[in-house]
């Protein structure tokens, strides 16, 4: 069976001046249809860059990205964007400050030539738990959680099959995080969506994903299942440090 998303030896490097920065150095993973895959790492681990490379926002300098068994085109075509969408980390930066929610949601429909736009926009807003009264509001009139719901609605309005989630809740308060995670969970169950979720928070990934990869310095440290994680079966030192740190503060030096 072909995986829904198959990443083979992905490499991404940037040139800043004469220096070359290797952000991702050979990462491979497969995500089956309807699965949820987590990528955990700290800043600079290249976890977000993996997502950006999949959807064409970062240059793929080596390796392959296969969608439904076929290599993706460069640049990505309209069909790819109908199927793969992304939700960004900061809901304050991912909505255009001068566009109403209506415009945010109708633009992708216009680009891809959908007809019944009004109906689709209303459905999309209802699906993410926002009523029609938010339709003509501007982003600054919404709270962070409401904005992130709009961002999810925007990503889902083209009815994609894959959702790339780049730290979708790290800019939100804990109580709002729970609401957004529940929303994402429900949408996946209802629509059979495939998720790739990037986060620095092991607990969020453990809650959302069946399988996860720990990244550091652009490379894979360890691949685990949720059961491994919950049982604390980490084989690598780095993963153990992450696990310990996410339990809260411990006064003792755990390892040097």
């Amino acid at each position: 069976m072909t995986a829904h998303l198959d990443i083979r030896d992905l490499r991404v490097s940037f040139h800043s001046g004469a220096e070359r920065v290797d952000a991702v150095r050979g990462v491979s993973f497969r995500v089956e249809r309807g699965a949820s895959y987590g990528i955990v790492g700290e800043s600079g681990s290249g976890k977000s860059t993996v997502l950006r490379a999949i959807c064409g926002l970062a240059p793929v300098t080596g390796g392959e990205v296969l969608f439904e068994g076929r290599p993706v085109s460069e640049p990505r075509d309209a069909a790819f964007y109908r199927n793969v969408q992304m939700v960004f980390q900061d809901p304050y930066a991912s909505l255009h400050p001068r566009h109403t929610i209506d415009r945010v949601l109708s633009e992708p429909l216009a680009i891809h030539g959908f007809k019944d736009r009004d109906k689709r926009i209303e459905t999309a807003l209802r699906d993410v738990g926002l009523g029609p009264r938010f339709r003509f509001a501007y982003p600054h009139q919404l709270s962070g959680g409401q904005r992130q719901r709009v961002a999810v609605a925007r990503a889902l309005i083209l009815e994609p099959t894959v959702l790339l989630l780049d730290e979708p809740t790290s800019a939100l308060d804990a109580s709002i995080q729970a609401e957004v995670l529940n929303l994402l969970d429900r949408l996946r169950a209802e629509r059979g969506l495939t998720y790739v979720l990037v986060s620095h928070d092991l607990a969020v990934v453990a809650h959302m994903c069946e399988q996860l990869m720990v990244m550091q310095h652009g490379q894979t440290v360890e691949v685990m299942t949720r059961a491994d994680l919950q049982a604390g079966r980490a084989t690598q030192d780095y993963t153990r440090r992450l696990l310990a740190a996410s339990e809260g503060y411990t006064p003792m030096e755990t390892s040097a």
Binding site: E42, D173, A174, A203, S246
Partner: protein, 277 residues
Amino acid sequence: MSDLLTVEDLRVRFPSRNGPVEVVRGVTFALGRERLGIVGESGSGKSQTGRAILGLTPPPGQAEAKRLEFDGIDLRNADKATWRRLRGARISMVMQDPKFSLNPVMTIGKQLVECWNLHAGTSRAEAKDRAIAMLEAVQIRDPKRVFGAYPHELSGGMGQRAMIAMMLITEPDMLIADEPTSALDVTVQIEVLRILDRLVSERGMGLILISHDLRLVSSFCDRVLVMYAGKVVEELKASELLNAQHPYTRGLYNCLPKIDGSARPLPTLQREESWAE
């Protein structure tokens, strides 16, 4: 134990188009030589509480209190000279983002030396030694390089540590840390907290840690104030977090996903109007 800081009925007000809005509404607490955590979500007034103690309420906001005393000094009507003697020297504040608190056109070393000289006024060489020792104390591996570096040349974690070094070089009696680690990676975060922890236990510093992270605060601090809508809704010993009485505190804790399995869907926080009164 004598209290280092006493706050009674602190209120912070901001004018708005629809009349003044109170973001801190009657906060009362005392701080000894201990680790006190203030937890709350965005907009709960936790940061404004920290700023008001240091007289740093941004205009046009106004702070007032029935009592605001630091080591016997009334802070409410402190003049500029008093603040100059206190801020930096005896009370320091660490902010969330080091970029806003470090001077971008001055090397880290120069800023540290300046800080120390304002406080002690010793010779150049001595100040430099002191600065490098401080950078070492905050676990910076290569203190000589960091001493000569500009803030933009440091990573986020390094910058944050450099700032903490600057705030601590004068050996303050009290440190207010507003989300000092939330811009940092979890592993670095723990290291930074260890530094603060040592300062409390070894030097007897009083520490106020302001954070949104209930788990972190409760595992680090001795005592926790939980703020909601500008008020302290609950004060508890950090070790008794799981026995919290107030539904807000419990809700805040329950809605966090746990690594070893959590309810699905996650319990969400049902806010009640009576919490805000």
